[in-house]
Amino acid sequence: MLGLDRKDTGLLAVVAILALFAPFILNPFPQGSELAQFNAGYPDLMQRFVIFGIFAIGFNLLFGLTGYLSFGHAAFLGVGSYAAVWMFKLLSMNVIPAILLSIAVAGLFSVVIGYISLRRSGIYFSILTLAFAQMSFNLAYSVLTPITNGETGLQLSLDDPRVLDGGGVATSLPLTNFFGIEMRATETLNLGPWAFQFNAGYYLCAILLLVTFYISIRIFRSPFGLMLRAVKSNQQRLSYTGLSTRPYTLAVFVISGMYAGLAGGLLASMDPLAGAERMQWTASGEVVIMTILGGAGTLIGPVLGAGVIKYFENIFSKINEGVLHGWFGALPDGLENAIVWVLARFTGEGWHLTLGLLFMAIIIFLPGGLVEGGRRSRALFRRRGRRGGAAEEDAAKQRAARPAE
């Protein structure tokens, strides 16, 4: 279907179902219950899941396929956000022109940065991209203030021209919309104690996630994608096979930059402001973490990674000492305090500590990320299940396999 083989179609279908039913899936606990704070089914968080999913999918096209580790990808996201907000200020509150412009601007930006950075590889490439991103960040904070509004960040204002939908007359700030459908519009479905929220903005993002995920599958399975994996494997052989490395890496760098621009445009479409901190190198580090955590070079990995990071960021930072005391209240006081003290170091404000530790653990023990972890545990179960009756069969197979080596 859609030019995909059965396995990939299955994968796409799973992602589609997860994305479309996310308001249900992410809201398993009834309102008002103890566990309701673990729910993630509210619009703001769901939007971030998919937006950062798109960002990570794009990053993975570059890093996962070619092995070029960009440490400045957030610059494209930031540029996309600025472009989108300007579109809202100047043209119209419709998100479509904003998103298109953010993709285009990020694409142009990445042509320039990619053209220069890709002249070098390895750590030099990482440092070059980092240097470009930091430059953009510093400039956005200082001399580019007329465009970026510096530290305050770029925001809408009442006297924006908004040529298409008549600005200047409104008394309150207008809302972003998709041909009249407001991005903020949310329908709530009450089923007994559950309240499921369906948000227009989320569904726009989710549909774009599916489109970008689909494109990413197509790229992985194309001759173009094959060449990109060949770039990672052996550049020398590639050039002696008559292929020119540079245009391949540049093309994927630009595609990846456009994904980041789209993510930035969507962030601005959901909440029309843009700040320089989105371009900082820690933000670039975050997308690296997401991709590695999920599994670089795999299709679903980056989406998983983005989801996990954003979920834990949200939930972990909400768990403060008060919440912890509530959980361990049944324990004797001394023990309760000790446990709460330890856990509090890793939750709430301490979320970044958990993130750092998690990240180290993944690199040390599971360089393939969550996808690799899933694969390994599945293999483990299969072996367990077969042990005993199938042991002899295995041995026979091994004997048969030996001579073929």
Binding site: G67, L69, I116, R119, R120, G122, I123, Y124, S126, I127, L128, L130, A131, F132, Q134, M135, N138, L139, Y141, S142, V143, L144, W281, T282, G285, V288, I292, R345, E349, G350, H352, L353, L355, G356, L357, F359, M360, I363, I364, P367
Partner: protein
Amino acid sequence: MDAILLQILNGLDKGSAYALIALGLTLIFGTLGVVNFAHGALFMIGAFCAVTLQRIFTISRTTVDESRTDFLGNPMEVDTPYLEIWFGPEFGAALIDWSVPLAILFAIPVMLLIGWIMERGLIKHFYKRPHADQILVTFGLAIVLQEIIKYFYGANPIPTPAPSAFAGSFDFGAALGFDPMTIIYPYWRLIYFAFAGLVIAGVFCFLQFTTFGMVVRAGMADRETVGLLGINIDKRFTIMFGIAAAVAGLAGVMYTPINSPNYHMGMDFLVLSFVVVVVGGMGSLPGAVLAGFLLGILESFASMNEIKSIIPGIDQIIIYLIAIVILLTRPRGLMGRKGVMED
């Protein structure tokens, strides 16, 4: 002329910090072949060694002084540091005043220990892994270290003054025959520069004139062969890592009076120091030092109003701009060797 001199001087202290961090990065990279993104965190920990010592020195006993009253009319509580109680008010106060320089003695063993733990506990498992993995795991470690410091010391910068003896400024203008007060330069920055020079000279002498240093240099040039000679190179490399950590730590200790330390100062310096290393040439110690000072000075020139009015914003991007130009025109940096990190 005096303006130029002033900018060179202004660039020296930042340049010194860049040079010291880049020196450590290069030592680690050259000997162990590891790209250490946690090196900035070591600089930051060094700075907090100074903060810690200052805090230890000022641990106080609270007594109630009946003869004085506070503004509510109650007897006033007076904090007296134990140091003043034990060693007499004058000597005790002097110790507290000198806590930053004294922190050097405190920081050396602490940094060596941290370096040793880091190398044995984590880095050694990453010798054979790709550079990308090394970058990522040390990046994770840097986040962890930073968060730990943030927990203990909070998010705000902590003022850590220099000894009052160095509080003033030196009037270079008067000394060199320009108008007085045109080139004034805080004493502490001079000290920092001299200190950096001393540490750099120490590291170079150590590598140049000791057998240990000779083996390490040989190992930097060709690790496998040195290993084949039956020399336990790993142990020496562990020590090198400790030394690199100590150099970063000392740079941090002495930097505290210039900029009050906060938990993310390491990350801020790390990015720039990496740029410095790349500009100097990956794996070249003299290159790292040269590029450190060069970029520090250029950065300070770019922040002159005369220059900023010609090219607005240049002070924000000069270092990155230079790095990009250098990388594209001299791919191995100013003094880089062939074949380093080019796989």
